[in-house]
């Protein structure tokens, strides 16, 4: 490989040229906030607290911290450094390291595009709930009435109003994935508005993103703080917090915990999308990317922890409310059956009364079929993902005073968290497209971003079908997981073994002014690739297939054509890695007229040409 000094002359001139043309951040804060916004997303709010709760509270923080230090931070540092050094998006970076690895960039592009499709659907759902938060009472408080107004709709009676609102009035979910159910017009409207909101922030690339993120990244923290203060005043909040943080050290023996910690960290930091590489490529080259990586990684984890406190306080409050309701219904049953005076039985003296009645007439008491009310059972009803936001949290909100305000704040916060992550996804699509130079230069940037948004909206209409939620689950499980692991693994192998770890360290020293120490080197060379490999293998052998059948959850198996699509979704993005390598190999074989390897000039020219061709579209 050609050493950087020999190319220096060329690259210096290349840099001078492209520093005029390539867009850049207004200031460092913008860049950091954008990276933080990309990393901090919906998963920090609705996935991490769930994992904490399920895997023994405080004890989960240990595998989480280990995964962060040995897998998350090194990969993050690597992506930021390589993007900053080579000043290109994912396609440009990997092609310049080696033309055979160009497929990595294309894979990142596909994954970013596919993830952006379904991620914005979630934002559309959030918008739907946001639009509905301006009513009193909130529409998910009560079931709708049946035709003669004597009771509620039976489907809602079997379930709860919150469930009904989510599954029937929002999703209008079909029975299974094969029944498509047609386009739901209200979801199409919400998806269109979500894409318009994304477009207006993304319209000029990082110019407009950089302004938008000042609001979209800081506002969620404000809302989380408000929720924290409010949640701690609610009754039952301390039960939830104690439950969340009580460490259960036994769980550490379960390998699933370590696997989930590693996957959580990996997906939480939004690695392998190409978005982080794109963002850091707009930096000046002399920038301390080590401190950037540490800041972004630590802020991401801190946000997860900080978000879990109000979430769990509120879940504790809800569990407490449900527990009280359960007890009250038992009291009412007893009062009515034994004709005891109204409100003579209270929750405090319930036990005495129960024993007395059971003693005097045990058969009658038994026939009443009283429910067993256990606070622990209610606390155990954990939820993550859309279930947490749209079912559990909405139920908690209607029991809080001033429901509309909390509902609006919550959904605006979720929307902004998701929006800042969408920016990263779309940059992961835009920058490689510009690198690949498939776009004619007369198309202005506004039009290009508009076309990207329009295409994504069009393809994303699949998620507005009656079966849309099933498709979203499939995309989430199969696109947003395995391909990323594969890409990340090849990324780290490319940089460490193809680019050369020595050269990489020298580059970093030139950029930041100090050599990365032994810790980073060991991680990059050995530990992180190994961890990625283990996580990938474990992921392949641990799958879950479930579909939800409202009003009861049923586990159904996917029909064969759907299973085929699942596999296709996992494989298709990463196909480009071997395909591009093969393509370049064929070209090399064809041009084999005494040039067994790239000459120095060729390599330098390659670097220069990449720098020169950056962003001819800057207006």
């Amino acid at each position: 490989m050609v050493s950087e000094d020999e190319c220096a002359d060329h690259t210096m001139s290349g840099e001078a040229k492209d520093s005029e043309e390539r867009p850049k951040w207004d200031n460092k804060v913008q860049y950091l906030l954008t990276c933080i916004g990309f990393a901090v997303g919906l998963g920090n709010v609705w996935r991490f607290p769930y994992l904490c709760q399920v895997y023994g509270g405080g004890a989960f923080l240990i595998p989480y911290a280990i995964a962060l230090v040995f897998e998350g931070l090194p990969l993050l540092y690597l992506e930021l450094a390589i993007g900053q050094r080579l000043r290109a998006g994912s396609v440009g970076v990997w092609t310049s390291i080696s033309p055979y690895m160009g497929g990595l960039g294309v894979a990142s592009l596909f994954v970013s595009f596919l993830v952006g499709l379904f991620y914005n659907m979630i934002l559309a759902w959030i918008l739907w709930y946001f639009f509905h938060s301006f009513q009193s009472p909130l529409p998910w408080t009560d079931c709708p009435l049946n035709s003669n107004h004597t009771g509620y709709i039976p489907a809602c009676e079997d379930s709860t109003p919150v469930n009904y609102f989510w599954y029937r009035e929002t999703l209008n979910i079909s029975a299974n994935i094969e029944t498509s159910g047609g386009l739901q017009w209200w979801l199409v409207l919400c998806l269109a508005s979500a894409w318009c909101l994304v477009y207006i922030c993304f319209i000029r690339g990082i110019e407009t993103i950089g302004k938008a993120i000042y609001v979209t990244v800081t506002f969620p923290y404000l809302v989380l703080t408000i929720f924290l203060i409010e949640a701690l005043t609610l009754p039952g909040a301390d039960d939830g917090l104690v439950y969340l943080f009580t460490p259960n050290w036994e769980t550490l023996k379960n390998p699933q915990v370590w696997l989930d910690a590693a996957t959580q960290i990996f997906f939480s930091l939004s690695l392998a999308f190409g978005g982080l590489i794109a963002f850091s490529s707009y930096n000046p080259q002399k920038n301390n990317c080590e401190s950037d990586a540490l800041i972004v990684g630590c802020v991401n984890s801190f946000t997860s922890l900080y978000a879990s406190i109000p979430i769990f306080a509120i879940l504790g409050f809800l569990a407490n409310e449900n527990y009280i309701d359960c007890q009250n219904s038992n009291i009412l049953t007893l009062t009515n059956a034994f004709n005891i005076g109204d409100e003579n039985i209270t929750r405090q003296n319930y036990e005495e009364w129960f024993e007395h009645l059971n003693f005097s007439d045990p058969s009658k008491v038994e026939s009443l079929q009283l429910k067993t009310c256990d606070l622990q059972t209610f606390l155990d009803q954990s939820a993550s993902g859309t279930g947490l936001a749209f079912i559990v949290f909405t139920e908690a909100v209607i029991k809080m005073p001033g429901s509309q305000v909390w509902s609006v704040l919550f959904f605006v916060m979720l929307f902004m968290l998701g929006l800042s992550s969408m920016f990263g996804n779309l940059e992961g699509v835009l920058t490689p497209l510009l690198d690949l130079q498939v776009i004619p230069s007369w198309i202005p940037k506004e039009l290009l971003t508009g076309l990207i948004c329009l295409t994504s909206f069009g393809v994303g209409l699949i998620f507005t079908l009656g079966s849309g939620n099933y498709w979203l689950e499939i995309f989430n499980s199969y696109v947003g997981s395995l391909p990323l692991l594969i890409i990340a693994f090849f990324e780290i192998i490319s940089v460490v073994y193809i680019y050369g770890i020595k050269r990489f360290i020298e580059d970093i020293e030139w950029m930041t002014g100090k050599r990365p120490n032994l810790f980073w080197r060991i991680n990059w060379c050995v530990i992180s690739p190994l961890m990625l490999l283990i996580v990938f293998l474990a992921y392949v052998f641990v799958e879950s297939e479930t579909t939800v059948h409202f009003p009861m959850a049923d586990v159904l198996h996917y029909p064969e054509w759907v299973a085929a699509i699942c596999i296709l979704l996992s494989v298709f993005p990463v196909l480009s890695i071997p395909l591009v390598a093969l393509y370049n190999f064929i070209i090399y074989l064809k041009t084999q007229t005494g040039l067994p390897a790239l000459t120095q000039l060729d390599a330098c020219e390659m670097n220069v040409s990449l720098h020169v061709f950056q962003h001819p579209l800057v207006t």
């Binding site: 639009f131 301006f134 004597t150 009771g151 009515n336 109204d342 506004e446």
Partner: protein, 214 residues
């Protein structure tokens, strides 16, 4: 023999006028006064029961217009501490028969709100077991509120997008004209530059000035 018959007849008459729980024409009523009113709860006593019978008679009068029901037509029995009891309605036209359940139900449904109000209770705290309360249909505005919120957001966003696109077009046009001007300027500047380089001092001008300074 005749005496026994008479006694039986009399007994059956009396029976018809005595309220029995679980009879086919009887309804059970349950009141939850403390739940509804808390500190302001009144104690249930015979006067309250009298009011109840009067309210029911009122409801029956409204339903079966013409028939003047009285408090004595409402039979009550099996009062409990819960405050629950059974009642039956005797017919006005034929005092030995009881009004059928369906009629009583319809009468109560019509006047439910008045009966509730008489006792400061609601459909949930004054229960007639077997008679489902007609639930109040929620207020449905003409335009669903969510569409209004959607319209506002889309309006603002649409305006923003139009602004950005127009600004981009204007900027391009301005750049184009600037580029053209620069090209034109560039040509003339070269000529001027050429002249400056020559820098020959033209004495004829200065001579003229000396002459005209007179």
């Amino acid at each position: 023999m005749l005496e026994k018959l008479l006694i039986l007849l009399f007994a059956s008459n009396v029976l018809a006028q005595v309220c029995m729980p679980d009879a086919p024409e009887a309804y059970k009523v349950r009141l939850s006064i403390k739940t509804a009113l808390g500190d302001q709860a009144y104690t249930w006593n015979d006067n309250e029961l009298y009011l109840f019978r009067a309210t029911l008679a009122f409801a029956m009068r409204n339903y079966l217009s013409g028939q003047l029901f009285d408090v004595s037509n409402i039979l009550v029995c099996n009062e409990t501490e819960r405050v629950s009891f059974w009642f039956m309605v005797k017919s006005v036209t034929n005092p030995t028969t009881l009004i059928e359940k369906q009629h009583v139900e319809n009468a109560i449904k019509e006047s439910r709100h008045r009966i509730n109000s008489a006792f400061l209770l609601t459909d949930q705290t004054l229960e007639f077991l077997g008679i489902l309360p007609t639930l109040a249909s929620p207020f449905v505005p003409a335009t669903p509120p969510w569409l209004i919120a959607f319209g506002v957001v889309m309006g603002v966003v649409g305006a923003g997008i139009v602004y950005f696109l127009v600004a981009a077009v204007v900027q391009r046009k301005r750049k184009k004209t600037l580029d053209e001007e620069e090209e034109a300027k560039g040509a003339t500047e070269n000529e001027i530059a050429g002249e400056n380089l020559d820098g020959i001092y033209n004495t004829s001008f200065s001579d003229d000035e000396k002459v005209t300074e007179m």
